[in-house]
């Protein structure tokens, strides 16, 4: 017991505990608020616990929007977009780091420069392209225009560049081709960075609102952020309904975090990135 006490640095522990409480506070508040009445939400001074537990707030979410359908669509489109985006970004980053071809630097600069173009500028031209391709009100219309990400390529290029070139050379001496180097050297050595890229990509797609709204008209293709907005806009005073929807909406993100926590922490330690 005494040795355990020695190992625990009490001030550091208390500092970290305080930090954790600050981070967890909004989530706990959100969960309690999702069971409150309107009067409880706005009472001053604020109340921690609901005066009566209103489970009907959750029911009301399902009554106001087709929550289940939106949930499925969000999971489906976010997973598909993340998978395609990673496949494209990993291969693009690999090519930019490992292959020598004319115009490589120029191409990389060009890709990075697209990060400075605001999304709103490309929104209407992109919509016109998707419309011409007959992809309005389709999953392809939601997914495909959002799978190219200069940021993910940039992130992976910086990670792949840190892999010692000697590993590539050794793999070549062992008879590996480009695909085997990618699958057996680059990817296994970049698990944490790919996980980070995946997390960023998934979060971005999960939150995506404007593009799915613009490109869909039918409820069967719509995603959660559109449904959340429907609850927010006119029911802006009914926080308890929004909180109930938010509690349900964050579950997939929490699951992704739980699964990839180790890799994420590792990548942050390696690069100093903030998630």
């Amino acid at each position: 017991m005494a040795s355990l006490r020695k190992k625990i640095n009490i001030p550091v522990f208390l500092f970290l505990l305080a930090g954790s409480v600050v981070m967890i506070f909004p989530f706990v508040w959100m969960i309690f608020s999702s069971f409150k009445t309107v009067a409880d939400v706005y009472t001053y001074p604020p109340k921690w616990l609901p005066s009566s537990w209103k489970f009907t707030n959750y029911k009301k979410v399902f009554q106001m929007i087709p929550f289940g359908r939106y949930y499925f669509n969000s999971i489906f489109t976010s997973v598909a977009q993340t998978a395609i985006q990673l496949a494209l970004s990993v291969t693009a980053a690999y090519a930019l780091v490992v292959l020598n071809f004319p115009g490589r630097k120029f191409l990389y600069t060009l890709i990075r420069s697209t990060m400075f173009v605001p999304t709103v500028v490309t929104l209407i031209p992109l919509y016109l392209l998707v419309s011409k391709a007959g992809m309005i009100d389709t999953y392809a219309g939601i997914i495909l225009p959002q799978v190219l990400s200069a940021f993910t390529i940039f992130l992976l290029v910086s990670f792949f560049s840190s892999i010692p070139t000697i590993l590539f050379d050794s793999a070549k001496l062992d008879g590996c081709g480009y695909y085997r180097i990618l699958s057996e050297v680059v990817i296994p050595n970049s698990k944490s960075s790919i996980s980070t890229a995946m997390l960023f990509a998934f979060l971005g797609h999960w939150k995506s609102y404007t593009w799915p709204l613009i490109v869909t008209n039918k409820a069967i293709y719509r995603t959660l952020p559109i449904g959340m907005k429907y609850l927010v806009q006119e029911s802006s005073s009914e926080y308890q309904i929004m909180m109930a929807a938010a509690v349900m909406a964050i579950l997939p993100v929490l699951i992704v975090y739980l699964f990839f926590e180790k890799q994420l922490v590792q990548s942050i330690t390696l690069t100093g990135l903030k998630a």
Partner: protein, 422 residues
Amino acid sequence: MKKATTIVLLLTLGISLVFATGAKEVSTRPEVVKLQVWYAISGASGEQFLALAKAFDASRPDIELELTYSGSYADTATKVSAALLSGDEPDAAIMAAGQLYTGGRGDFSMENLVKDPDFNVDDIFKGMLEYGMYEGRIAAVPYGISSQVLYYNKDITDKAGLDLEKNPPTTWAQFFTMAKTAMEKGNVNNSPDFYGFDTSDGVWLFKSMLGQNGNEVVRKVGDRVQPAFHEASGIEVGRFWKSLVDSNVMPAAQHTNAEKKFLAGNLAFIAASSNRVARWQGTTNFSLGAIVMPGFKNRSIALGGNVAVILTGDQYKREASWELLKYLLEEENHTAFALSTGYLPVRKSAQNGAVVKEALASNPLYKVAFDQLDNAWAYYHFQEMGTMDSFFWYALDEIEKGVSSVEVALAKAAASLEKEIE
């Protein structure tokens, strides 16, 4: 030769006629006209609109509706803009500033549609009809129309010894004194973040105040729109606005938090949309009151909200869309929509209807918005009015934070608007 030429000409004419007839698509009304309708209203208003639209759909086997929620007003504007460019526009829409997408493209066919004897356009409030105009011509019909109302926390005013029911303020000067008293004596929560007054939409209230002080928002000179809000009587309004902040009655640049503050009991008065009656009543921790907005030289109130437009070019879809709009604006249907959402009835006849009378008798808060109807007006709608609102917003922000004087901030906004119009 002459005969041959005649034969050739006749043959050419005959062939042309045959092909012309053959090529021409004979347009007949489909058995079921499918309409795509976008709507930018959500929550309780969206539910009520959907219920009415679905009832129409069920009552008309010849018309089929596909109803789509199109996001907030701003999102819907983006969605409609993109759709118009690609030809994917909806047939009809309920949206803010819809007249920019019809009148702005030279489509004033609504002028003829409202002449429909079944519609009785004279029964629509004048100010509301003007709200659907683009450059002075009817390009949309009013639907979810609201005005700002002055709500108050009765617990606070009671503690401060103010009796708003007996002595409501009629001028902003009187109101200023009351708000100050409420602030000094009515802090029921003992909150350090307590104020006398705020508004959730400063730009909207400022426009009303301009009208009350006899100052136009914009003016049409020849064929050009010019800003007028920076003129002398507009600057007077700006100075009153600034005095609210300087005396600490209104917090500087916190309008987005105004409703939350009010609902938490930390604000005595709030100017907010009349549709908050339906949402707030019975849900607050305090006794809620409402009074008619005070004024300067008059009590005029700028209207806000959304309109209904027909965007399709297809004749049969236009006809079917008009049938839908007529149905939505029938006295009975629109009154039901208005009473359950807090929006205002657009028909004068609704005021004398039994349903409205009963609602007003049982709910005096509704009466306030109704009492303001005769003073309601709509300012001149033009292409850059959305941009003008953002210039206005920056001007008020600068005035409240003391970054610029009232004169400079309004002149800057006017110059920016003129540049935008050019």
